[in-house]
């Protein structure tokens, strides 16, 4: 406890110091006037000041506020030592910033009691000051961390403007960080993918999950995966990442290039609504699944809904923040409120819907994140050109012998190898059909010597496939070889398949009687490929597929 004594009379100072020493206060300093007191206080940082009122030069009344100003954050007790005893002077002692007074001649017991009392207050004040400092430090730390996280979020969730332009969106977080998310990407197969989702709660804790979701989404879009596969993967990711009381309601959507056919997986999101361009007829597509991040792989249901719309129709997606908007008397807008807002105009906008919600809310605060996404059904043809076709030539050869031909995943593996090539996704469905036709022809006729004409009766049809299975399981010889060659200058894929069979008569591979359950493969090949050629007595087929659609 460091005490500064300010008095112009040396006797007084002597008495005080002597008395304080007896009380155990050994760390005492003296000043003879106001100026000296100010200079010394600056230097020694006293914990308490005993201040005389009447001094030549600066009086105690002048010095007190100056001393107080020196350390505004921490309580510095000033006790006036005064011979004045009129009420006015005593009041003034306190008004100029003094905290207490003792009258001369001073009473040792009273004075030391007062010193103890004020030093307690100073200790408390010093504790508060320390806590304030640490609060300030932490709040700055949090601010800085938020700034970093915000930066990461802003970079992680970047929707390409060309794709975003097809969506009418309002994204309105309740706090700095958004637990709602809207992602959209052009599909390598033409068309686009998008995701509208809502993590439990709001703020940073719920926003953090957006990062892995957006990364996984982007990676899967690049591969052109099916919506159901995306749902499974995101569910799996979140199940392992999120605490058990947190989950992610989401609509994952693929829209085809016509902009009118939607494949939707909706888990725990409000119902999706489709408004017909002809009149305000609404169709509802409620969620059939639980939110993501709850169910294990074996419990998870990846079934999707398909919505077929017409150009000009409007598809509305929103998070529950919209329908859970409350007015000032605590009533929720609810689903029917959203329906009213969506149907009040022939053509709705996200902003229009948002304003309805805001008006409904009145003066009440926004309690949850709110996202509104309106898709106006229109062709997405212009997004197709965002994907380039490989400009390097490549070849893939696959030679399968005997038992290897039993593998049920031959076509899938071939597709997987090709899928990594840019531009392939656009023609993926066609490629699958083409490979499947060519391969099954080579296998069933070239290698297994099956006779298609047995397929012509219902019983024969089943028997044919049973026989196929039987012969395949017994297969020891036989070979099928795929040679795929990509020709970058022609943007075409050349596929040649050779089987080890004895060939077939190359006559009339045209479509015959429409009611035949066989003989449809070749017309399909002719339609999907630029060129189909059978050579080497029908044991080799070569097709040319244009990768530009």
């Amino acid at each position: 406890m460091r005490i500064l004594i300010v008095d112009d009379e040396s006797l007084n100072r002597f008495l005080l110091i002597h008395m304080l020493e007896e009380e155990g206060y050994l760390d005492c300093f003296e000043a003879r006037n106001g100026d000296e007191a100010l200079a010394l206080a600056e230097q020694i940082k006293p914990d308490l000041i005993l201040l005389d009122v009447i001094m030549p030069g600066l009086s105690g009344f002048d010095v007190a506020p100056k001393l107080k100003a020196m350390n505004a954050n921490l309580y510095l007790p000033i006790i006036f030592i005064t011979s004045l005893d009129d009420k006015e002077s005593l009041v003034k002692c306190l008004e100029v910033g003094g905290d207490d007074f003792v009258s001369k001649p001073f009473d040792r017991v009273i004075l030391s009691a007062k010193i103890r009392a004020h030093s307690r207050i100073r200790q408390l004040s010093s504790q508060i000051e320390k806590q304030n400092q640490s609060l300030l430090y932490h709040s700055r730390l949090v601010e800085r961390e938020h700034a970093i996280v915000e930066h990461i979020f802003n970079n992680a969730i970047v929707n390409q403007p060309e794709v975003l332009a097809f969506f009418d969106t309002i994204i309105s977080p309740a706090a700095v960080f958004n637990g709602d998310v809207f992602l959209c990407e052009a599909s390598p197969a033409g068309g686009a993918y998008f995701l509208v989702g809502d993590f439990t709660g709001h703020g940073l804790a719920s926003a953090i999950g957006v990062l892995p979701v957006s990364r996984a989404f982007q990676a899967m879009v690049k591969k052109g995966l099916a919506v159901s596969e995306m749902a499974v993967t995101i569910n799996e990711t979140l199940l392992s990442l999120l605490p058990s009381d947190m989950f992610f309601a989401a609509c994952i959507v693929e829209v085809d290039i016509s902009g009118t056919r939607f494949t939707i997986w909706n888990g725990g999101m409000p119902q999706v609504m489709l408004k017909s361009v002809r009149g305000c007829r609404l169709r509802y597509f409620p969620s059939r699944h639980m939110a993501l991040g709850i169910l294990t792989d074996s419990e998870f249901d990846a079934d999707c809904d398909v919505i077929e719309a017409e150009p000009g129709d409007q598809l509305l997606f929103y998070t529950d923040g919209l329908m859970e908007v409350m007015n000032e008397s605590g009533e929720m807008a609810d689903e029917h409120g959203v329906i009213d807002w969506f149907t009040q105009d022939d053509v709705s906008t996200a902003l229009g819907m948002y304003n309805c919600a805001k008006q409904f809310r009145g003066g009440a605060e926004q309690a949850d994140d709110m996202t509104i996404v309106v898709f106006n059904c229109q062709s997405l043809e212009s997004l197709k050109h965002r994907f380039s076709i490989n400009d390097l030539p490549y070849t893939i050869s696959l030679s399968l012998k005997g038992a290897e031909l039993r593998n049920p995943r031959i076509i899938d593996s071939l597709m997987e190898m090709l899928n990594s090539q840019p531009g392939v996704a656009l023609v993926r469905s066609d490629l699958y059909t083409i490979f499947s036709e060519i391969f099954n022809n080579a296998l069933e006729h070239g290698v297994l010597h099956l006779d298609s004409s047995t397929k012509n009766t219902p019983e024969g049809f089943i028997r044919y496939y049973e026989e196929r299975e039987r012969r395949l399981n017994a297969l020891e010889d036989g070979q099928i070889r795929f040679d795929l060659q990509f020709l970058p200058t022609e943007s075409a894929l050349l596929v040649s398949v050779k089987d080890s069979g004895s060939g077939f008569a190359l006559n009339s591979p045209e479509i015959r009687d429409l009611s035949n359950s066989f003989g449809r493969g070749i017309p399909i090949l002719r339609e999907l490929c630029d060129k189909v050629e059978y050579t080497e007595r029908g044991t080799r087929v070569t097709v040319r597929i244009s990768m530009v659609r």
């Binding site: 056919r261 079934d303 036709e437 449809r520 017309p523 399909i524």
Partner: protein, 101 residues
């Protein structure tokens, strides 16, 4: 899920839904889907909304279904096709035997 069959509430429509690949691997399960068909069924709808890939064996299965049930008066529909699937049905002139919606 590979192939699921669901009877409508009034028992006059059977909806057969196929998954992403409609190829020879589905021969058995597709036939089972319309096996023991109740007499009340007047419409069979093949929902291809999930189907991304198909080949000519799928066409065979569809025709085989019609043939197996040829002694009954049933309307056949193929619904919710993707553009690519639609195209294959069109190439094979399936619109003559099925209502393609």
């Amino acid at each position: 899920m590979t192939i699921t069959a669901a009877l409508s509430e009034n028992r006059n429509t059977l909806v057969i839904q196929v998954d992403d690949k409609f190829d020879f691997g589905k021969v058995q399960s597709f036939r089972e889907a319309y096996d023991k068909l109740p007499d009340t069924v007047k419409v069979i709808e093949v929902d291809l909304s999930q189907t991304e890939y198909m080949d000519s064996s799928a066409l065979g299965m569809l025709l085989n279904m019609q043939k197996s049930l040829s002694d009954r008066k049933i309307e056949y529909k193929i619904t919710h096709c993707r553009a690519q699937v639609s195209r294959i049905l069109k190439i094979s002139r399936f619109d003559k035997k099925f209502v393609i919606a």
